[in-house]
Symmetry: D2
Subunit: 323 residues, 4 copies
């Protein structure tokens, strides 16, 4: 349930306010050089401290507890863990409220109230930190593939700075769109049905908290296009196409052109602004105000996470293609 992948397999564990959280990575080829330093840049891209992101600061230092011998993978699973140092569980008592937009109500049903509410527990955005670490490893398995995700828009606009200022002032939060482009990919990866490239990437992307939509190529616009416009015609023998409306994937299989997709993030559920919602204890609709540290726009931190899950899928498909 907390595992993804067939050869390159990742299993996530921990919660926001556990002593630690992390990821177990199986299927790494033996002999890969890995050093802690390689994680810094990617982890920094995800870290808070940017405008509009949460003031919670963590060390975010990865500890590789297994799988490495003399600086190289030894063929056994890598366990990469992170400590949770800087949290305030006291912030996570909400009286009779289930926070609007959050998983509190759904989780209580699933876990019969035994789940850890602090910091969102297993639903915390902090759980994406190990995903980023796994992404670092995945990218090393496919060195010729370049994966680049970036902010496409925030809220209604690409004039992002002003939008964030404004939302922050109003104690509100913002959604946004991240676009990811992948070049250097071999044709022939993926499967025609259940393991289509779109199936696997969307599976992984929707495990990132906050994602509510994904489109591959000109996916959304494609529904209103005609075939004669949408079809990507070939222009050379390598399979390069003139347009790339299909986002590099035909019939679920890579065609060698760039894969690209856009990910739609809803605004963060946690806002300082007062909301009216049900108090489950009193049975009445009441004012609800959330304490704690919140991102005005966590979306700014997500491009590296999107890259990570795309890399995880493509590393697995690449290893599988050798069978």
């Amino acid at each position: 349930m907390n595992t993804f992948g067939r050869i390159f397999r990742i299993s996530i564990y921990g919660t926001s306010h556990n002593s630690e959280l992390g990821i177990l990575i199986d299927g790494c080829p033996p002999g890969m050089e890995i050093s802690i330093e390689e994680f810094s840049e990617e982890i920094l891209r995800r870290s808070s401290g940017q405008q509009g992101t949460t003031p919670r600061q963590e060390d975010d230092i990865p500890f590789i507890k297994s799988g490495i011998y003399n600086g190289r993978t030894n063929g056994t699973p890598l366990l990469i863990s992170f400590k949770n140092n800087n949290f305030k569980s006291a912030d996570y008592e909400f009286g009779g409220f289930c926070r609007p937009g959050h998983a509190d109500f759904a989780a209580a049903a699933k876990y019969k109230n035994f789940n850890d509410p602090n910091g969102g527990g297993q639903f915390s955005g902090r759980m994406t930190l190990p995903l980023v670490a796994a992404g670092v490893i995945a990218k090393k398995i496919i060195p010729d593939v370049e994966i680049k995700a970036e902010i496409y828009s925030i809220g209604n606009t690409r004039n992002i700075n002003h939008e964030i200022e404004d939302a922050k002032k109003q104690l509100d939060s913002l959604g946004g769109i991240v676009q990811c482009n992948i070049s250097g990919i071999n044709p022939g990866l993926g499967e025609p049905f259940f393991d289509s490239v779109e199936s696997l990437i969307s599976h992984a992307v929707f495990s990132i908290p906050g994602v509510k939509a994904i489109e591959f190529g000109e996916g959304i616009r494609s529904a209103s296009m005609r075939g004669s416009v949408f079809n990507d015609v070939f222009i050379d023998k390598s399979g390069k196409t003139g347009t790339n409306n299909s986002g590099g994937i035909n019939g679920g299989i890579t065609n060698g052109n760039d894969i690209y997709f856009r990910v739609y993030f809803r605004p963060a559920s946690s806002i300082g602004k007062r909301q009216k919602t049900l108090n489950f204890e009193t049975g009445e609709i009441q004012d609800f105000e959330l304490k704690g540290r919140h991102d005005t726009c966590y979306v700014l931190r997500t491009p590296v996470i999107v890259e990570a899950v795309a890399a995880i899928v493509l590393a697995d498909l690449t290893l599988l293609s050798a069978c």
Copy 2:
């Protein structure tokens, strides 16, 4: 690779022009009554013969080859097969061309040219017929859940008839949007990460040929909304919310409100209209004209397929929730 699900597991086989195609279904509880008649309505919804769909007619009669004893499931896998009677393989020789928009090029790379090109082989829309059959079984496992998909728009419009007439006249094809609504679902299904409800439904939906985007709830609009607007506030103790922007899923888990999602289909790749594309033998850009039978708007046939894959996911999650 051709299998999906954990308890309720389906494995698809066959191609468009094989003698048969079908699906193997494992994990059905024993004792379910199943008769051939129950498949008719769903299969009819998928069948051609509607305005704008292919003139190819098949019997589309399901043969249940195993898993049934005295009219009830006996606990062993169900094999459901369909015959391929009415095909013309001669239509599928394209000289030096890889058809634009199709998987011909990608498949040649993946299968080293050993794949069956006829009728699109394993990439054929005909492969969705066994999915519909599996959907019939899946729906019976979750009798209290109502799944209803319908056409939301075709091409640019909801005035669909005229749009189809026009495209047909121009030998072109049309995309469209299907909306699916699911009510009666228990809260607590799904997982916080890799097996989020969105992850699993999108995984299954993207295995339907032609799908290029999916949004859950107000997924696309959510990226431009603020948290105070997007958040669904609770209005009663059952967990019902006033709005349902999140589409019934929080943190990957069902919250008991209706699940809804929209699926974006690209226009069919096969069009009668002349296209300019590379001839891989001559190395020149040439005119390419496609013979054969084509759907102007195959999207009209997809709502029942979307329902089927949603039912498959929810049947599996429901069985899993008992563990």
Copy 3:
């Protein structure tokens, strides 16, 4: 539940008295030449008609329903099915009895009495026919590996003919031991823990009806040996060892020496001889006499089945070793 393997994956379906039974095989590399004739010899080895085996005759002709194009695998799953023609379901009504030694009682508990009792249903030895077919495919994936299983002993003896005559006369059945030797295997297959070669082969072997024990190398004797005697010492640089007590596997991994293992089959449960057992309806211990066609010594038919499941495991491990 009815599936085995990671890349080369097989899924079994059907029962003894269904219209058909068979196997779905995923993960075959595209481009393998396959013809029906290749199955004949192996299927004949399994077939009845030998001394001491059941008089039931089936055509046992494999139908390859999918996965082949122009005589070669096309990269999609192979469905191989067999018809059930020659059965007498009337033989399978036992009054209030659960047959001693059979799965009748266990199956009733598992399947809540919805299982098909005829011919043993899914527990029938006939289910090994599709395993043999899958073995034929598996052997083609590892052409350099030679797998040879043969009868080691029947009942108490290696003087087999007389033993069978005697048991037949007494309307009784016989167990036996099959030894399997595998040469030409590369070193380095398998995993140190859960997917050790012994784990995977034993997993597959114990799915053959009637198997109750397995030993690898001198496994049983090894428990009473000392390390200085058991240890296989190396005698040349290829890794060849002087003795082969470990049966070619160290730490779960092949070492390049021959793999060998012995499989212990219990005698068939179905015997003509009168037995005393509980009548569940009357609640009394009564005489029970079994009609129908029975093998005196089904073990004679099993070497090819043992080879098949070994080949299935090794084909999968060989494909995996390329990742």
Copy 4:
């Protein structure tokens, strides 16, 4: 590859001389009370310090890093880790030798020489410590089931003390047999084919280092028995049988009678006694003498490990039976 189970899923990581080793356990129902103290007794049963076992002493204290909230499982995976404190890697340099009986040669082939040789790396018997921890959890999931493994024989004898003294004096090692009995199990667990109870238990048991054979019920003797003797006849309506030659399993499914099986362990490969074997550097057969700490009879420590893997299988099957 390092994962086992379908609902109750365990993934093992680490090596003998890593900073830590452990196990990730997914699929525990939420709300189970778990305390560190519950592990002590089982871990003590596995620990060294008994007559004939290695003098290496470790703290063997389990650290539960995740999955617990307020003393109860919270529905997320449990990570249980153990520190490696007391090791001497210097003992693990063997010149040009691959140790006889060990996985050195096989591992070099598999991991292309990147594996960690120290303490046997991932092949170390120390890896069974996390299995024991997972067994503690598994047993709590099936509280009505009693699993009891014990030494059946050591070397040639049940007069164990003298045998160990003698082997120790001769710097040699001893194998042995462990018998495991399981009572209180429901009928109806397991599957007729690939997931037969025997398949799953043997799969798990053969992942314990040193196991070379397994028999269920009177498995080995059964091969020389006749059906009229082997068949277990029913004696009451609960399904109880007079004899239990089949070890509580018919057709792969539990029948409610006690499951029992015997596990055959080869003697430890590491012995102090001088052996003649190939020096891969010189290409000559030379004397080889092993330093380091060795068990004369590690088998004494294995009953709790056998119980653990049996519990892991049965916990998984029990959870699955609810689907």
